[in-house]
């Protein structure tokens, strides 16, 4: 009908507003932070100085950075693994129709919908060593949030509560897309439930499992609100994640250069993880 350039001209006015917004609020800051990470910048002292790779070299010798990186990796690995296992079990449980399924769907959505800050406050209260309902029900006297050994696991359990429903609902959608004939064929061939799960369900679900893994890994690795409100990174930095450390350096120590460098490491790790998963995913679908 019309030439390609006229077509492009017609779509530009529709794309431009969102494009300008995205460029201003997301792309520009990400480029700007790369620049900030090369500066020594302290708004209080009025210092702004280009220092090149100095901040990145400082990372190497910063034990608190390595501690935060280890904490973040541990938190991400354990919580994502648990969420995937429990989410899959929950999805399999919810797959078959039963009376009141809509109600269970709605209830399962609650942990996802509750604001993360509220989630942290709720669990802080349940974990309370003196008056907490968890110690009461267990008949235990565990200092959940006060001891370095327990605090990280308390945070992981909270994240599992909040994020498992999301995983379950996504996997459930995938399960419902598997053609019923395949299960029928498997049962005609006399396959056991376990064989059917391993040979039919799991392979067909694998691309979606990888997508869920990417989404959850990205989200868990950048964790901030949940742990910041639950423990503030304590006790003794045992739950301090990269985002929390970066936030503290930025807004409590007011070192905008080094804080930005720490934030860039979060971005780099997430980009790396996404690239690895994307390779796996391409290998699967190709």
């Amino acid at each position: 009908m019309t030439s390609p350039s006229r077509q492009a001209g017609r779509s530009a006015p529709f794309l431009a507003p969102a494009g300008v917004m995205l460029a201003a609020v997301t792309l520009f800051p990400v480029i700007y932070i790369l620049w900030l990470s090369l500066e020594q910048r302290s708004p209080v002292l009025g210092v702004t100085q280009f220092v090149g790779a100095a901040n990145y070299l400082r990372l190497l010798g910063d034990a608190r950075f390595w501690n935060a990186l280890a904490n973040t990796t541990y938190f991400t690995t354990l919580s994502v693994a648990l969420e995937l296992a429990l989410g899959l079990a929950m999805a399999l449980l919810l797959r078959r129709a039963f009376p009141g399924r809509a109600l269970v769907y709605a209830v399962v959505l609650i942990p996802w919908a509750v604001p993360t800050v509220v989630t942290a406050r709720m669990w802080e209260w349940m974990y309370n060593a003196d008056y907490g309902v968890i110690n009461y029900l267990l008949g235990a006297q565990i200092n959940w949030l006060g001891s370095p050994a327990w605090a990280m696991h308390a945070a992981i359990l909270m994240d599992v509560w909040k994020s498992t429903p999301f995983v379950a609902l996504l996997l459930l959608a995938g399960l419902q897309n598997i053609p019923a004939e395949l299960y029928h064929a498997a049962s005609v061939d006399g396959a056991t439930r376990w064989t059917t799960f391993r040979r039919v369900t799991l392979p067909l679900l694998m691309p979606l499992i990888l997508v869920v893994l990417i989404l959850r890994t990205i989200d868990a690795f950048r964790v901030f609100d949940a742990i910041y409100v639950l423990t503030g990174g304590g006790p003794a930095n045992s739950t301090e994640t990269l985002s929390i450390y970066a936030y503290k350096v930025l807004f409590q120590t007011l070192e905008f250069g080094y804080g930005s460098t720490l934030a860039v490491t979060v971005l780099a790790c997430i980009a790396l993880a996404t690239a690895v998963y994307a390779r796996l995913l391409r290998g699967r679908t190709a």
Binding site: Q7, A18, Y131, A173, I214, I270
Partner: protein, 270 residues
Amino acid sequence: MSRIGRFTALALVALWSLAPFLWQLITSLKPDPEITALPPLLPAHITLAHYAAIFTGTPFLRLMANSAVVASGTTLLAVALGALAAFALAKLHVRRRTLILALVLAVSMFPPIATVSPLFLVINALGLRDTLIALILTYTGFALPLAIWLLTGFFHKVPDEIYFAARVDGCTPFEAFRRVLLPLSAPGLITTAILVFILSWNEFLYALSFTATAAARTLPVGIALFPGLHEIPWGEIAAACVAATAPVLLLALGFHRRIVEGLTRGAVKG
């Protein structure tokens, strides 16, 4: 699995999902002496004192209004800008369409911490610190990728023939968008709006960093920084948590089908 086994497992899943919020609700209704006494689990007396305290003593209503303005403003802006872009991506011949969608997806993976310091400097320089507009603009940028992805999918579902028929009848692309595409995609617009609203209502890191007083603080910030002079006011915190969760909880319960559809579409497309 036997019927009883399945039923028990389902009941456990429901209880596990519900229990923490339920416990917060119970705590918010207990008089102070009962809060720090276990057993019993259930209150002997029910009181609304904690709710009365948060709605009168602290600027809680102000924070709630801030949250409502920020979440509604973000929803309007993100859905409006997202719908325009999604329309072009779904119905017009956009060159490098796949590249644009991939870029949008990449943007949605940026961790908030990696943009908070540059945005803070810009917002300060523009004199927008501690304003609601700074939050609305920031949230819109971060909600747009989701809105664009979801709406592109929803607009795709409207047959091309319908769009072309409108064009043949003399509609400009924008008229066809406004008078044909939008009404036909109303359910998709609602789904997108609900998801964006919930995400904006719950956001914490930007709100914490860009605000300083009750003038622009949102509920999550207020709850995280809940003032306690001597002892931690568990009852009031619980009441604040319940009140701050109520709007999104009602949305989640009322529109759970749409939310699940939106979440799965957003993920499966990705």
